[in-house]
Amino acid sequence: MSEFQTNSRVIKWIEYRLPIFSYVNEHLVVYPAPKNLNYAYNFGSLAGVMLVVQIVTGIVLAMHYTPHVDYAFDSVEHIMRDVNYGWLMRYMHANGASMFFIVVYIHIFRGLYYGSYKSPREVLWFLGIIILLLMMATAFMGYVLPWGQMSFWGATVITNLFSAIPLIGDSVVTWLWGGFSVDNPTLNRFFSLHYLLPFVLIGVVFLHLWALHHRKSNNPLGIDIKGPQDTIPFHPYYTVKDALGLAVFGVFFALFLFFMPNALGEPDNYIKADPLVTPAHIVPEWYFLPFYAILRSIPDKLGGVIAMFAAIFVLFVLPWLDTSRVRSATFRPIYKQMFWLFVIVCLVLGWCGAKPAEGIYIIVSRVATFLYFAFFGLLPFIGWFERPRPLPESINAAVLKSGGGGAMPEGAAAKAEERG
């Protein structure tokens, strides 16, 4: 790793007191990344970008929004109609939340596929789950703020989940509400926390990156970095790769933002909240649908709530459930099929969550819920009898063998090694 060098006396003066330039150099410039990272590895940086987009647009929206039951709905319409570019800010924020979840879910599935949760990256994985939980809490509270019908009834149903707790459930719900129903105190505290949590997220993201840079990225082969020949410096190789990914993703985001900004929302949320009328068909935002389907598939209130939370918390024990010593699914013939089946199960659950809880949908969601947990239940056994394919000798050897010489000229590779 090359030491940070500069001729600037100003930078030297600052560097002596706060080594920020060498820190940036170490982590964003010369940082040695595996040379075989594919485009699945773009989604971490995209998630970081989306967090920034959400914070910037959110701060702007807070300048025009009024967190009061009598004014909240109207202030959102005021943003949409009267505030200069208010429509853009709000649509960016509302669709941005969906985009954030899209990239984070792909990022998580990437980690599942390449075994990024395995030793020595368990803490990195835990921090990722904590980020997901914080995102869910933030997104849920944010959805309440426009005070439409879905805001109100979503808040009512989700906070009522806590009433399933034996003995203290009702007191907990009253405490969450600050009253006897979702009302102004609830809206106020949700606004406060919705503003706070993204900054907590930034903190956890830093820990996530710290853990990542301490043990370095996993890679599609799932084998360790054995030396400088296996890595290339982050800049320019991955800065440019991330930039290209961001440009493509930006087109995707813009497609929703400018051409179908309400496609991912519910029309009922353009009706002002009415505590006396529940909409006939209430559904959460799409990114909660698989969990909602799990909740509804269990015919018992407490059981459903436990299953729903277990669906996320099971990820915390994943590093120990998976007994295989091979990380990447590329070399695990059985796990690879299980992984894709699991992806399909998650999509089916999402589809079930959007449908009414009746007839065939109940049966399908029960089967899918069973398969969801079966995936985790089977993992320990798969690790025992699965026969993995032989692992390559090193990242470098695999890259050169797969015709990497074409994609990466010898000269460039050699140069990268000198720098690394």
Partner: protein
Amino acid sequence: MADTTHGGQTRRDFLYIAAGGMGAVGVGAMAWPFVSQMNPSQDVLALSSTEVDLSTIDVGQSVKVFWRGKPVFIRHRTAAEIAEAEGVPMGDLPDPQADSDRVQRAEWLILVGVCTHLGCIPIGEQGDYGGWFCPCHGSHYDISGRIRRGPAPLNLEVPEYVFLDDNRVRIG
């Protein structure tokens, strides 16, 4: 400090535990206001009763009144409905409760109109049992507001109320 040792424990150990204990009490005492402030405030608690004039509700009719931010269903039941509610065998009920335990005067059924599953508002005169039906997750309630089928675990709650006279009731 070694001169104050008693059975392997030093005065420093005692001070350590005492200081730590006091610190924990202090943190706990300071934490409570931050927890308690989220409970209903005094003005919210003050709004917790409401009076209803019953003289305008005909037999067979039901009204919704607003109480503690939630709807309360008041149904003026017909004789047939009362007979139906009283005739249900206890064995058919997931949350067994006699109709007579749920009303003060049989013709007036007063219920908190909040589904005991996840808090939606059930729709009146729907469902398979002639009572209420919750559109969110499909719970059916009968003409006594008792859960008959669906994910809700309990009967619709009966609020505290008193009849002030034949035509007025105070809820809460």
